[in-house]
């Protein structure tokens, strides 16, 4: 690049707009937001029908549980609790016991977190499986586009330099101090972003689909190896729950980063594709 021509009419720093996200990425992103919201909340409805998780092929009342969300009545009413590997935590108000129309009610996840808000397993399953299909189709569209267009290679694959401990260490410190890339550097994903997005796209989301399918007796007959991969239907159900929890964690951090690094600019770039960059001007 040759920067010899100085245009006097341009004042620095100036704002330029770049095209950040292609139409397919924007479309699949928001459809994914819709699908995952419905899947999470209808999933919690389904979980509420039997709020215990096990490991292995079988597991039901009386079998050793990995996680239990329940309620027990004591003198002054019922108390909610969550029990993980023998450790019991009181959770009244949110888990185990929460208010439904002002009345403390025994239910694992509260009404505001489930679809529908009232207890209805059949309805929860209908929402869940409809959006599971939509999520799968959306995922195939995204993966196909990303492979063909070079989105994976160009935007998401970290370079060798980016993976060096020195570089990663610097990025972690920058993130911790809320120092975000500016100018030219802000045009690309940083290494932590690339690694996080890749682990969601390549690990967490496929794991959700596969563990979900493993809970289906029909799919297990078609692909018996799936059950072996996860060590049993009940293990798959537990991994489904844990993976969903990681996705929730990802969304919390993701939204926090969007807000901290420029809410409107980020959201606009995911809606219209346009992303504002501050140019500091040619270095003198």
């Amino acid at each position: 690049m040759n920067e010899t021509t100085i245009n006097d009419t341009v004042r620095y720093p100036r704002t330029v707009f770049i095209r950040r996200h292609s139409i397919i990425i924007r479309f699949t992103h928001w459809l994914n937001v819709l699908c995952l919201s419905f899947l999470l909340m209808s999933g919690l409805q389904i979980f509420n029908a039997h709020p215990e998780l096990y490991w292995g092929h079988y597991g039901a009342d009386g079998d050793p549980a990995v996680l239990t969300i329940g309620s027990e009545s004591q003198g002054d009413g019922s108390h909610g609790f969550a029990r993980v590997a023998g450790l019991q935590v009181p959770t009244t108000g949110v888990l185990g016991v929460s208010n439904v129309d002002g009345e403390p009610t025994s239910r694992a996840f509260p009404a505001w977190a489930t679809i529908p808000s009232f207890q209805d397993l059949a309805a929860g399953r209908r929402w869940h499986f409809f959006f599971a299909w939509l999520f799968l189709i959306n995922g195939i569209l995204y993966l196909g586009f990303s492979l063909i267009s070079g989105h994976f290679r160009r935007d998401l694959t970290p370079t060798t330099e980016e993976l060096s401990p020195r570089h990663l260490g610097r990025e972690i410190i920058d993130h911790a101090l809320l120092r975000f890339p500016k100018g030219e550097e802000a045009k690309r994903y940083n290494a932590l972003q690339k690694l996080t997005y890749l682990s969601v796209i390549v690990v967490l989301l496929p794991l959700m689909i596969l563990t979900g399918l493993t809970m289906s007796p029909g799919v297990d007959a078609a692909f018996p190896w799936l059950v072996d991969v996860f060590g049993g239907r009940q293990s798959a159900r537990t991994i489904h729950f844990i993976t969903a929890s990681f996705l929730v964690l990802f969304v919390i951090v993701h939204v926090a980063m969007v807000v901290l690094s420029g809410t409107w600019n980020n959201i606009r770039s995911m809606i219209t594709g346009r992303y504002a960059i501050q140019e500091q001007g040619p270095k003198s």
Partner: protein
């Protein structure tokens, strides 16, 4: 500053408002008939995809003796409370008869002893409840296709309906009586059996004595207990609420492979 406060207020108010809208909105959508129809379209897709992937004869996994659950939860009805059933149970089901009629060439009635003389199949399989839990048990019974073969199906036969002795919901019109239906693909599957034994013992009343269905590639509610009569039909739309089963009439999928 005031601009910032306004914006913040707007954001907080907007978020709270939006989530309240979403919440009540979802319940409203949930009750909407058109939405329900769209959501239900997934069931057909699921059934078509699973049938395509598994083919007609893909077997559910069979386990070893050591894999059997130490306790097998009794679900649904634990004991039908009609006088008729109590009488049958008192007589060790000696006077019980399995009636098979509908679109068959020779309507017949089988005693428990008749069924035990027929070809038997034993399978140790995982029972998956729609609620999410699983239990492994050993089931012995006569393959359904053997029984259907002896009565002979008419060419118009499409579904096998199981009429049961238990009333899961007490109603005056009998609409709370348990029934289930499967199609001929599942009816001819080698692991679809009419089980009279569980874990080497005659079926207990809790688990569906004297006879229950095992249809291993589907969820627990398809596995009808306390079978009294099998009816072969070309459509189940005139039975119950027309959805092919007790739980189906209460919103659950007819195809319960997922």
């Amino acid at each position: 500053m005031s601009h910032f406060l306004t914006r913040r207020r707007f954001l907080i108010g907007g978020t709270l408002g939006a989530s309240a809208l979403t919440l009540s909105g979802c319940d409203m959508l949930d009750q909407n008939a058109d939405v329900a129809t769209v959501l239900r379209s997934a069931e057909r897709l699921t059934m078509k995809a699973q049938r395509l992937l598994q083919g007609r004869d893909a077997l559910a996994r069979e386990f070893g003796e050591t894999d059997i659950s130490p306790s097998f939860r009794v679900n649904g009805t634990s004991a039908p409370d009609s006088d008729e059933y109590a009488e049958l149970a008192d007589g060790q089901f000696a006077s019980w008869r399995l009636k098979i009629d509908g679109l068959v060439n020779r309507p017949m009635a089988f005693s428990l002893a008749d069924l035990k003389l027929m070809t038997a199949r034993t399978q140790i399989t995982r029972h998956d409840c729609v609620e999410g839990w699983s239990a492994i048990g050993k089931w012995t019974g006569v393959p359904l296709w053997v029984v259907l073969g002896s009565v002979g199906l008419k060419p118009t036969a499409r579904y096998v309906v199981f009429h049961c002795a238990d009333e899961l919901e007490k109603t005056l019109d009998g609409s709370g009586r348990y029934y289930e239906s499967i199609d001929l693909v599942d009816a001819h599957h080698p692991q679809t059996i009419l089980a009279y034994q569980m874990n080497g013992q005659d079926l207990s009343i809790g688990h569906g004595a004297p006879l229950r269905l095992r249809v291993e590639r589907q969820l627990g509610y398809k596995h009808a207990k306390y079978i009294m009569r099998i009816e072969i039909v070309d459509s189940f739309s005139s039975m119950g609420a027309g959805n092919g089963g007790y739980w189906e009439d209460r919103g659950y999928e007819w195809y319960a492979g997922i």
